[in-house]
């Protein structure tokens, strides 16, 4: 389960809209609690995928941004608990590329559909322990 304050979900959607027609991406910071990933902050990142023409269907977060996020998380006594990215004009379903390049089970991979420039809805996914696929996890929004 992913616990996500509504205002942070709105920021994730806005980042997806701002990045359109490219994929937008960033990191989820927070902590784990009783098996749930609890988001307390987000860190939008630049999509540094090296081929401009492929950015509508690919994203990459730079090593520098990953290091900065890790340092920021340590400074705030938080952890990186997941990744967000957008799917321009495609459903927010984890793609074969998302699976091929997935890291570890336990991270939340929240994907937001951006349709013709407007963010619509998000779904969140977790990598299965045997790395064979993703399973959807519930997103629980909160007001705080």
């Amino acid at each position: 389960m992913l616990q996500l304050p509504t205002q942070l979900h709105e920021q994730i959607k806005a980042h997806g809209a701002k990045s359109y027609p490219f994929e937008g991406c960033g990191l989820l910071l927070g902590h784990t609690e009783n098996g749930a990933n609890v988001v307390e902050a987000i860190m939008p990142a630049a999509n540094t995928w090296p081929v401009e023409a492929e950015k509508p269907v690919r994203f990459q977060i730079s090593a520098d941004d990953m290091l900065k996020a890790e340092m920021e998380a340590m400074r705030r006594d938080l952890d990186i608990i997941g990744v967000f990215h957008s799917h321009p004009d495609h459903p927010p379903v984890a793609s074969p590329r998302d699976l091929a390049w997935a890291t570890w089970p336990g991270y939340s991979y929240i994907i937001t559909q951006v349709w013709e420039g407007e963010p619509t809805y998000s779904q969140s996914w977790q990598l299965l322990a045997d790395r064979s696929g993703f399973i959807e996890e519930e997103i629980v929004e909160s007001d705080d």
Binding site: E23, C25, L27, T32, W49, V57, R58, F59, Q60, I61, A63, M66, L67, E70, M71, M74, D79, I80, I81, V83, H85, A94, S95, P96, R97, D98, W101, A102, T103, W104, P105, G106, Y107, Y109
Partner: protein, 89 residues
Amino acid sequence: MATIRIPTPLRPYTGNNGKITVNGGTVGSALADLTTQFPDLRPHLFEGDTLRSFVNVYLNEEDVRHLQGPETAVSPTDTLMIIPSIAGG
């Protein structure tokens, strides 16, 4: 004894500890000691004998690939961080 900071998803394999102290004078031996202490961690970091392609190791904020890789010297006051590369589609 250097310190290795463990990413959140891997902490179930380290007894939920976020920081592990390890023996070893190099990055390679420090990682070897880590996976000896916590064998279930190994498949998440290594594919065979090499680090998984998305696994990056930083020594005091410097990617060890830009230093001497696994042969990079580690002192007892050093902190190693394991940070994944993130990409998708």
